[in-house]
């Protein structure tokens, strides 16, 4: 065999092998220089906008409320947009400014809203037969602490400044104990959602936290990764459950339609399924007096704070 031939053969062979290694994904042609399309404002006049306070963290909220919002959208025959904000106050501001048509808010936030700009109740969820919930004081599962009292001088996680179960309720308990809520804990901070507070305790970032019983129970039932690593050392008296509110300027027809859908949701098969999944029995008519206990606590804590100043 001629050496020239073998060299050529070898070269061809190697080229073929090399060629086989090459990926030949085809690139889509795109012209990036034409930048006419701009980001518009995200206001959406077509949609019904419903805000959800970050009782649980925004992503969890998204998952939690997805089906219900889809259901509402279907029933209302308009797209329903879930609007979230970091703090309860921001949601209250949205309601006040009519930026949203309705909102799921915390009990305390409702009281504040009603006091400040006449936030109106639309409906309340009923859990285990009543529109009430509790505040749980939780500590890590292996913690030696067994009462709120023992948490003095420890670190503690509040949920939101406008949270009832996550802030007002423990402050009230501390005040009842004759302690100053401002100085009772060595360090406090806001997690801005109850699931984050549970996580913070489970991960032992804090020594304790006050959380919404609805959130803890739901999490414990559906995803006990973090709740299983916490224990409840104190359960508050029942409070009026966080309601669905509307701005007082909302179109009455819309308000009525929305209320009707909510109140009849448990009668609908699909609606019932959704409600079961998020562990709500049904939506019912709301009564402002449901939140009187919260108003009372607010006054006590406010007084205690003034006194300590």
């Amino acid at each position: 065999m001629h050496p020239e031939k073998s060299v050529i053969l070898l070269a061809i062979l190697l080229f073929v092998i090399a060629g086989g290694c090459l990926d030949t994904e085809k690139a889509t042609k795109v012209n990036l220089s034409n930048r006419s399309h701009d980001v518009g404002d995200n206001s959406d006049s077509q949609s019904l906008r419903i805000a959800v306070s970050a009782i649980i963290s925004p992503d969890e909220t998204m998952v939690y409320y997805q089906d219900m919002f889809d259901y509402l959208s279907l029933k209302m025959n308009v797209p329903v947009k879930l609007v979230q904000r970091k703090t309860y106050q921001e949601v209250n501001d949205l309601v006040r400014k009519n930026r949203v048509d309705a909102a799921f808010v915390c009990s305390l936030a409702y009281i504040e809203g009603k006091d400040q700009f006449g936030m109106e109740l639309l409906a309340v969820p009923e859990v285990r037969g009543e529109p009430r919930y509790y505040s749980y004081i939780i500590v890590p599962e292996d913690s030696s602490i067994n009462s709120l009292k023992e948490l003095k001088g420890k670190t503690f996680a509040y949920t939101d400044p406008l949270s009832n179960s996550g802030k007002l309720s423990p402050e009230y308990m501390i005040a009842q104990m004759g302690e100053n809520p401002e100085t009772f804990f060595k360090l406090t901070f806001f997690t801005y959602s109850h699931d984050k507070s549970i996580q913070a305790v489970a991960e032992k970032m804090v020594d304790g936290a006050a959380v919404d019983s609805l959130v803890w129970d739901f999490k414990n039932a559906t995803d006990p990764r973090f709740t299983s690593r916490t224990k409840i050392i104190s359960k508050s008296p029942p409070y009026g459950i966080p309601p669905i509110v509307i701005s007082k300027d909302i179109d009455p027809a819309l308000k009525e339609k929305l209320r009707k859908i909510l109140l009849q949701m448990h009668e609908d098969k699909k609606g019932k399924e959704i409600l079961d999944r998020i562990m709500i029995d049904r939506f019912s008519e709301a009564n402002d007096s449901l939140y009187d206990s919260v108003r009372e606590m607010k006054k006590v804590v406010s007084d205690a704070r003034k006194k300590n100043k």
């Binding site: 690139a27 795109v30 990036l32 006419s36 992503d59």
Partner: protein
């Protein structure tokens, strides 16, 4: 003169072998370089591309995770900051943009507006990444869902340019390295080639020396490899070759001497009759040197015209040859093929037989003379003894005839008388033959003698045409009577040979130192067997009683006495030519 240039180059880099060596090394290095470059390009592209994809995926997923809350709470500013930050801190990020679940752009890193085309290219969401050709390089577009797509999507464009830069850089490095290695390879191949071909070159020098005739040249070798074996074999070959050639030379020398010692011409010719070689004998015989006749046709040496002999096979036997000076000589040629096959050439051996011929002629002449002398004595004796009784018989017959006899007796007496006279004539001629008188020399004009003879013979020439073609001849010293006798005899012979309508041509001519008389007839001719005998006494073809057979013999004697010669050429049925030569 490209050949010259290459030769020069060969000399410079040490010959074709080294050049081949260098060329092949360079070819192999370059080929390996190219292959390495391709291979590295391919594998580097793959690796870097995979790395870029992984990074893109990681960045997009991380961003999707970290950005979810900000999106959900519509913290656009924070979303922007996160996006810009990600673009700033991560390398190769060409762009980032966030869309909500419905594909609306929430934030992006493009300056001066978002390119709408990018959105349309995103229709296929099946792949988490795909390639985009932006016209400014290839971009890998990654899409990571935020909250399973419920909250939207993070899109990151990873620029492949830096990959290509890196690959190009590496390729350049490899190519540079290849060129460097190639250059180094040339140098090393040259050195190695030179080292390896050194023994070969000494072999080449050895063959050149032998080619130049320096037989027995020995190569010095100190290596122990195959070249050494070759060198030893070469040296042995050289030694043996030298011996063989010397033996051959000695042998050739011997044979040359042998051939040169032969006095005959030994000529080697090829199949085209060209002279290849000859011995010194040939040189002596023909007068040419070998250089003069080499490659010349052998017919050059032949007396007969060349064109005639060109196609003829050279026949063994007698022939006439020509020397350089133009003179001719008789020779005996023998032609033997060099080998059995036809085309190998022939060996001609030519023997100069001039001396032999002369000797034979002399012997013949001597014999003739002796014969004549003996015959003359015998004839004289017989004639003398017969003459006396013949005289007596003739006398008495004459006496008896004077008397009256009856017719019968008278007739017989006349016959006796007639026959006696005839016998007396024969005796007289015998005596003439035996006692040929010395010529009485005087100035003779041969032409006039011919005229005289013709006048005498005229009565017999009734049936014969005589053509006389005489040229003026110088007077020669001869016996006019004897010359007349010769001419008479000759012409009578010719006339007698002619039967009917014959012609006789008589010519005279002057040649260098002699005159020639030719008598040409168209008679019956003389058979070849008889030509040698016609001058013998008593040889005759005539019926007994018609001739004595002494005429030509007498003529021969007369001409001999005049120091001349008689030649005869004859062919049966065509005629005979007698040529008499007499010295001036």
């Amino acid at each position: 003169m490209p050949g010259k240039k290459i030769n020069k180059l060969n000399n410079f880099i040490g010959g074709g072998l080294v050049r081949n060596f260098v060329v092949w090394i360079v070819v192999i290095i370059m080929l390996l370089g190219v292959l390495t470059t391709i291979f590295v390009q391919v594998s580097l592209t793959k690796t870097l591309s995979e790395e870029l994809r992984e990074r893109g995926q990681v960045i997009s997923r991380n961003l999707a995770t970290s950005i979810v809350e900000s999106i959900l709470i519509e913290d656009t500013v924070y979303v922007h900051r996160l996006v810009e930050n990600a673009k700033k801190t991560e390398k190769d990020v060409k762009y980032i943009y966030i869309t909500d679940a419905r594909g609306k752009v929430l934030a992006h890193t493009f300056e001066g507006g978002f390119p709408g085309e990018l959105l349309t290219s995103q229709i296929d969401r099946g792949n988490s990444s795909h390639l985009l050709d932006t016209g400014d390089g290839i971009v890998i577009d990654f899409t990571a869902p935020i909250l399973d797509g419920r909250a939207g999507f993070v899109h990151i464009g990873m620029d492949e340019t830096s990959i290509h830069d890196k690959i190009n850089q590496t390729s350049r490095a490899i190519i540079t390295l290849t060129l460097l290695v190639g250059a180094l390879g040339v140098l090393m191949a040259y050195i190695a080639g030179n080292y390896l071909t050194r023994p070969i070159r000494s072999l080449v020098k050895g063959t050149e020396e032998i080619g130049r005739g320096n037989l027995g040249y020995q190569i010095k070798t100190d290596s122990t490899d195959e070249i050494n074996i070759l060198s030893k074999a070469f040296n042995e070959m050289s030694y043996n070759l030298n011996n063989s050639i010397n033996e051959l030379r000695e042998s050739e020398e011997r044979y040359k001497k042998l051939v040169d010692s032969i006095s005959d011409a030994v000529i080697l010719i090829d199949s085209q009759k060209k002279i290849l070689s000859w011995n010194s004998g040939a040189q002596k015989i023909f007068g040419y040197s070998l250089e003069e006749v080499a490659d010349g046709n052998v017919n050059l040496l032949n007396h007969s015209s060349a064109s005639e002999a060109d196609n003829l096979e050279i026949q063994d036997g007698e022939n006439v040859f020509k020397r350089k000076d133009g003179s001719t000589f008789p020779g005996l040629i023998s032609n033997k093929p060099l080998q059995d096959s036809m085309n190998a050439g022939n060996v001609l051996v030519i023997k100069d037989i001039t001396d032999q011929k002369e000797k034979a002629n002399l012997e013949k002449l001597l014999m003739q003379s002796e014969k004549l002398f003996t015959l003359g004595k015998l004839a004289a004796g017989v004639a003398h003894e017969i003459n006396n009784p013949l005289t007596t018989i003739s006398l008495h017959t004459q006496i008896m005839l004077k008397k009256k006899w009856d017719d019968r007796t008278d007739g017989r007496l006349k016959i006796i008388n007639k026959e006696t006279n005839r016998a007396a004539r024969i005796v007289k001629r015998l005596l003439e033959f035996a006692h040929q008188p010395e010529p009485k020399i005087s100035s003779v004009d041969i032409n006039r003698e011919i005229d005289n003879v013709l006048n005498v013979l005229e009565p017999q020439l009734t049936h014969t045409k005589i053509t006389v073609n005489l040229t003026p001849l110088p007077l020669i010293m001869a016996d006019s009577e004897q010359i007349q006798q010769v001419l008479m005899n000759m012409l009578t012979n010719s006339i007698q040979s002619i039967t009917m309508d014959g012609e006789i041509i008589i010519k005279t001519a002057t040649k260098n130192d002699h005159i020639e008389i030719s008598i040409i007839d168209n008679g019956c001719g003389i058979p070849q067997d008889n030509i040698g005998k016609i001058f013998d006494p008593f040889f005759t073809t005539k019926m007994p009683g018609e001739g004595t057979g002494l005429g030509l013999s007498i003529c021969y004697g007369i001409i001999k006495k005049h120091n001349g010669s008689i030649d005869v050429k004859s062919e049966v049925g065509t005629g005979t030519t007698f040529t008499i030569r007499l010295p001036i």
